[in-house]
Symmetry: C2
Subunit: 352 residues, 2 copies
DNA sequence: CTGAAAGCGCTAACAT
DNA sequence: ATGTTAGCGCTTTCAG
């Protein structure tokens, strides 16, 4: 049992109020007394209990953070950003992971509310129609969503649809016509859906028919053979793949290699997220980089005023942060064999 | 302000004791009363405050987790392992990152003690002579170290020295003689030091002189040109690099590429940690894989009995988990030019 | 089966 | 400058 304010008071022969003041308002304590109390605090190894304080005060200086998983560096990064920013303001984080599971989202929010967190920074599966978030609104618990791209709730994210469109456009501009999207399961992520829409936008602008996406489980460490077969089948094999996130892109590339498909010679690959490790690998993964750390930091900045902290009280509810197309060696023009096969009026693109 | 047990009591016209029982011991409440109270709980959207409970009881069911950074997937993974295991037992995690900074370690422990966590799972810079840990001992706050390889404190890790020795041995067995170690700064990690010892062991067993390690800042995203120059200088250029962790290995490989050095043709690279992304990249990163998730899980298992939970009360204080050499295409035999240069009695190794 | 009351550690009036 | 006291939300005897 740690010692309490009472123990210190007794040891220093003062009242508990004086001990409290020694800690919170030293200038209101006589110098000698101050020294004596501090001495006792040392001796007894007293650490004030945040519990007592939190129970008394109207805030806990705790904020809950909910992310799908830390296996995806994207979330690890934005968590870091939020951590840095919140810590600097004296707030502590309580972390919960959901593995993209709605039931776990519910449980996480419940736990966090029990802990009386002052606010929430969360990435949820589906931000649009989400009863959990409605409950938060009703409970008046401030929250900011991260990586959830919705105009209807406080959030910080990139414009996923536009970003995806630009990325796919880059593929098309290099002469690819048969571009297929590989996505984590749509049910588990509104991001994935928006990115698919961006993909479809780009295809249509180029006068091409969007192809159905190949859906893969988010947590998968490998591509099931059945799906892989579809991806590498001869005939109408895609010349480029747009993956809804970098982790997925790497998993897919690994599978392609196993199937004897060389990236980028036989197939180009574009990811999404711009995780640092992607840039280090060979060939460097082309991607649409999102400012993950900044997303976390911004989420805190947006949340802080809602907690009554100093800050821009009239900051926007929704922040759209800039993305950036990150070129990489996983993208090449369709190989010559491929081009020979497709020397038809439909693919009149030029190459240097 | 969330509603309290009093609000519910008033709404249901019972005492707060009955509300408490409804939540914690429903069988001791009359069926009708139970229903009425539950109704009120619903209506008022009552969520019991963990604070009140924690203040009253002798445990908070909170555990603190301290890791250097989440930018290194190793720690993200073991955090996940700990989270899974602890959550299953109804414990919540409070996360703090230190960026390998001792001052931040101190602050983290302070905060966690204030929050009255029941125990700690931590990865610290230096587990041997660490006053912070001594303080924990004195305060009788149970803790388990992860990734800290020390027999003197409760810990879960792999045998870093042996693992490093085996890895370097594998390089030597392929004909490498000039193997250099690249390490994060030794001051910030007892792991790095042990791995260097393992490197030295292997070199000496092969009758070779261990070379001084090249130290690089942990957080670096690139290798400074001055260090890079030393690594790629002609003449006594190493034919193989042993990196003290995978992230570092990837950063180094990236720099080597910039310097026109091809891996593995011109230089082999071996990492440490076995992060999943390493296996996905091309060429696949050879590494010494550590069971990170299991490390986190085991840490919880080892901590639980110390908190008075069910579990093996006589589990070992220190657990050494098995590592595994993970072969990869970043390791090759020294290239032919290199071999021609070194066709001397000292390097009689055969190649297919 | 239910209620009254004490007390967990702390802060903030209010008194002295 | 310091002390006394009420009360934050809850659990837990102890009575009824």
């Amino acid at each position: 049992m740690p010692s309490t304010i009472k123990d210190v008071a007794a040891h220093a022969s003062v009242s508990i109020a004086t001990v409290s003041r020694t800690i919170n308002a030293p200038h209101r304590v006589n110098a000698e007394t101050l020294a004596r109390v501090r001495e006792s605090i040392q001796v007894l190894d007293f650490t004030p209990s945040a519990l007592g304080r939190q129970l008394r005060g109207e805030r806990t200086r705790l904020i809950g953070v909910i992310v799908p998983t830390l296996a995806n560096p994207v979330f690890a990064e934005s968590l870091q950003g939020a951590d840095e920013a919140a810590s600097a303001d004296g707030y502590r984080l309580m972390l919960m992971t959901t593995e993209y599971d709605t039931a776990r989202e519910r449980a996480a929010i419940e736990t966090l509310r029990e802990q009386r967190v002052d606010g929430l920074i969360a990435t949820v599966a589906d931000a649009g129609a989400n009863t959990l978030l409605d409950e938060l609104d009703r409970a008046e618990l401030p929250y900011v969503l991260t990586h959830n791209d919705t105009p209807h709730r406080p959030s910080v994210c990139v414009d996923n649809r536009r970003a995806a469109r630009e990325g796919v456009h880059a593929l098309l501009a290099r002469g690819h016509r048969n571009v297929t999207m590989v996505a984590g399961s749509f049910a588990a992520s509104d991001r994935a859906r928006l990115r698919y829409q961006g993909y479809a936008d780009a295809m249509q602008e180029a006068g091409l028919q969007p192809l159905p996406a190949v859906e893969i489980d988010f947590n998968a460490d490998d591509v099931p053979d059945s799906l892989l077969a579809g991806l590498v089948r001869r005939g109408d094999r895609p010349t480029a793949l747009f993956c809804s996130n970098d982790r997925l892109a790497m998993v897919v590339m690994h599978a392609l290699r196993r199937a004897g498909i060389d990236v980028p010679r036989d197939m180009s690959v574009l990811g999404f997220d711009g995780i640092p490790l992607g840039e280090l690998m060979q060939p460097a993964l082309a991607s649409i980089a999102t400012p993950n750390r900044l997303i976390g930091r911004t989420a805190w900045r947006q949340l802080a005023p809602l907690l009554g902290l100093a800050g821009d009280a009239h900051a926007p509810q929704c922040t759209t942060l800039p993305h950036r197309f990150r070129p990489g060696a996983t993208i090449a023009e369709p190989d010559s064999a491929q081009r020979l096969h497709s020397l038809s009026p439909e693919t009149p693109h030029e190459h240097p």
